[in-house]
């Protein structure tokens, strides 16, 4: 396989332009939704929204202070997490289970419940052989809506904190969450799902289908005794038996509806184990392109929503530019690393870039873009197996996650984490121009610094601590699929992905063990809720502050120098935190690969 650079660059540019073109209209639309201004879907969905408030007794004008807002958010997430845990445990007795899958083990159910409520969608199970249609739809897909809407509600509350002056409240969590689901996620997902079906993504509730193989074949499998233990021969080697294979069983299910929200809500939890590499999830280059757009559109457009709500659209564009800059660097690096290929394989007389873990139809451009987009955001869907990328190619997704998923980032979480970075960058830059730092007219003081550093550094701290524990736990080391530095990369990636609520994996690692299910759950919970609550606390503090009007002496945060500074701060914080781990993982593996094993 040889890459067509012209086509690939065209595709990258088309995606960047497409996303950029969506920023303004979608950003403006979301602002109107959250500010309760009229939108064109109002007549259709308004009555439904009103009915929900009437039935629950929530008054939409009743605003919450930050503690109340955070309390409602946490309660909602814990309650729905518990409900999901119950569904997963009881799967065997629930309807819509044509394949008769049993319930999950408790630790796997816990990990999965945490994973989907935290917008991580880390999957220690494989969908087509473990999850019933009921689970896929009512537990997994519903949470893909709810966790995304939660993230968006938090960032909207934060933006209100920045925009409001000497105010006490941040909005109403129930209203923000409901509006996010009804007016933003649902309509876009609905349209996208239908377009995906047109490309070949399946959408049905049928049982799995069997088709005869054109060329029947056979395979060897270990012979088992009555107690399902492998039988071994005199030399201690397992005895195998030959099994004839006459047909192929095709999995079915309501894939398109899940696929759309999976990408749109930067969730990433696929219907099938192979995720977006599976032809039934992502059948054509066009569906691939559409999924890329879905992944990036809301996180990108939220910058504009932020700018509009803060009354300075330029500030939104500044944040967007910083994100775009980081994204272009990442895509470029990933594409270059993969394009250069694997010299060890090339030495074997194999041409072109490495095809291990890649699909033919996407081409190198479609694969590299997807890997970068899914880790820049907190999506975590994959159309390429990150474990099999070249060392530096695989380091790019890892770094994008380790930076805190601020390059567009998760819906909501990406922007609020980036804004926490902005506040740290403003703090240093503001001092450097001789003023006590301020952002959008709000003074950055001790509370803001505490909350920003918690938001920005929690994930890093959790990753470092858990990687350290895993590396000295023999059971955890045994889960590695690859030896040496690459095995270390797998563990680092696993905790990075969970602590930052991404969900993609160096999937060789066997994550479905008690150790990884539990440590992973902890990483996901801390990585999601410590920043979320800090951000709301910061919003509460900011909302109460006076507004300082800008002057020539104010740090201009919408100009290129500050944008570059912001990019530098993001990169430096990430590099300083993870340089040693990256050096002993992907970087040394790259050198080994270059030097020959």
């Amino acid at each position: 396989m040889h890459a067509n650079i012209i086509f690939d660059i065209s595709q990258i540019l088309a995606l960047l332009i497409g996303v950029t073109l969506l920023v303004r209209p979608l950003g403006g639309y979301m602002k109107r939704v959250y500010q309760g201004e009229g939108v064109f879907l109002g007549p259709v969905l308004g009555p439904l929204e009103g009915a929900l408030y009437r039935m629950s007794g929530v008054r939409k004008d009743e605003e919450m202070d930050w503690k109340h807002y955070a309390g409602a958010m946490l309660t909602f997430n814990l309650v729905t997490m518990a409900l999901m845990f119950a569904i997963l445990m009881l799967q065997g007795s629930l309807p819509l289970n044509p394949q008769k899958f049993p319930g999950f083990s408790w630790d796997l159910a816990l990990n999965t419940a945490v994973s989907f409520t935290t917008n991580t969608n880390w999957q220690n199970y494989s969908g087509e052989s473990a999850a019933s249609y009921f689970t896929q739809v009512m537990a997994l897909m519903v949470h893909q809506f709810l966790s995304a809407a939660t993230g968006m509600a938090i960032v909207i509350a934060f933006v209100r904190g920045l925009a409001r002056r000497t105010a006490e409240t941040l909005g109403n969590f129930w209203v923000d969450m409901t509006r996010g689901v009804l007016y933003i996620l649902l309509p876009i997902a609905f349209v996208a799902a239908l377009v995906l079906v047109s490309q070949g993504v399946i959408q049905n509730f049928s049982p799995y289908k069997s088709v005869p193989l054109i060329q029947p074949t056979s395979y060897e499998r270990p012979k088992l005794d009555a107690n399902s233990n492998p039988i071994k021969n005199a030399d201690g080697k397992p005895v195998t038996e030959t099994v004839a294979l006459q047909e192929q069983t095709l999995p079915m299910g309501p894939v398109a509806s899940l696929e759309a929200i999976k990408e749109l809500g930067t969730n990433g939890g696929g219907f099938f184990n192979a995720n977006s590499a599976h032809p039934y999830e992502n059948p054509t280059p066009l569906s691939n392109f559409l999924e890329l757009l879905l992944i990036l559109m809301i996180p990108a457009a939220l910058t504009n929503t932020f700018g509009r709500m803060a009354g300075e659209t330029r500030q939104g564009w500044a944040v967007y530019t910083a994100m775009l800059l980081l994204f272009v660097i990442a895509v470029g690096a990933l594409y270059w690393a993969e394009y250069s290929g694997n010299p060890l394989v090339q030495k074997l007389g194999v041409g072109g870039y490495s095809m291990e873990g890649k699909e033919v139809r996407f081409g190198l451009g479609g694969s590299a873009l997807f890997s970068a987009s899914t880790t820049a955001t907190s999506c975590g869907a994959v159309n390429t197996m990150h474990d099999s990328l070249t060392p530096l190619g695989g380091m790019v997704p890892m770094v994008l996650i380790l930076l805190g998923e601020v390059v567009f980032g998760g819906v909501g979480s990406g922007l609020y984490t980036m804004l926490a970075f902005v506040i740290i960058a403003v703090f240093a830059a503001g001092l450097m121009i001789g003023r006590t730092p301020e952002y959008l007219g709000k003074k950055i003081e001790v509370t803001e610094m505490w909350m920003s550093v918690i938001t920005v550094l929690t994930a890093g701290a959790v990753i470092l601590a858990l990687v350290a524990i895993a590396l000295i736990t023999p059971a955890a080391v045994r889960s590695m699929a690859n030896p040496g530095p690459h095995g270390l990369s797998e563990v680092l990636y696993a905790f990075a992905s969970q602590a930052n609520n991404n969900g993609s994996a160096f999937a060789g690692l066997n994550g479905n063990t008690l150790f990884y299910n539990l440590t992973g759950s902890l990483a996901m919970l801390l990585g999601r809720f410590a920043p979320a609550v800090s951000v709301l606390a910061m919003a509460g503090s900011l909302a109460g502050k006076k507004y300082v009007p800008p002057s020539v002496g104010t740090l201009p945060t919408d100009q290129l120098p500050f944008i570059f500074w912001l990019v530098a701060v993001v990169l430096i914080v990430g590099a300083l935190t993870f340089f040693p781990a990256l050096a002993l993982g992907p970087i040394v593996e790259h050198m080994i690969m270059q030097g020959g094993v």
Partner: protein
Amino acid sequence: MREIRNSVFFFLALALVTGVAYPAAVTVLSQLIFPEQANGSLIYGGAGAPVGSSLIGQPFSNARYFWPRPSATADFPYNALASGGSNLGPTNKELLGQVAARRETLRGYGIQGIVPADLVMASASGLDPHISPEAALLQVPRISGERKLSEKKVRSLVLKHIEDSQLGFLGAPRVNVLKLNLALDSGENRD
């Protein structure tokens, strides 16, 4: 307490909207508008029974057929119930061993020179239905030899099955192996 009640209420209410109404509506509409795609893009044989899906690859190891990409699915290749890749890292000796072995198989059939990567490296899903045109054309001499067909015929059949990039630049040109092999069997290429 009030927020716990609200939590349960909003979960149930929104689950009805997003977990029931939404997939139901998408299912109904796609079954109406795109029934073929919604049900798996199945290919039907002469008898009207499905013989495969144009999107899901099948294992072909017989020399009479075009070979698809190596598949690393669990238990056996192209196991559609266990989609996934090998997850072998780039410096893993196991990967290099597998690649070398597959290359030797190709060499055994007289394929010299540089081997296309897609023929010796496993796909991400393990179900990749496509190979590159290059990889298909490389197999033409073998097929023509095994099937006693002229190389020109086989080659033109391959060329006919090349799917181009979408919209002119999206994705790579590719050949659907199942469709190509079905065409071989159906005798489309007979003189």
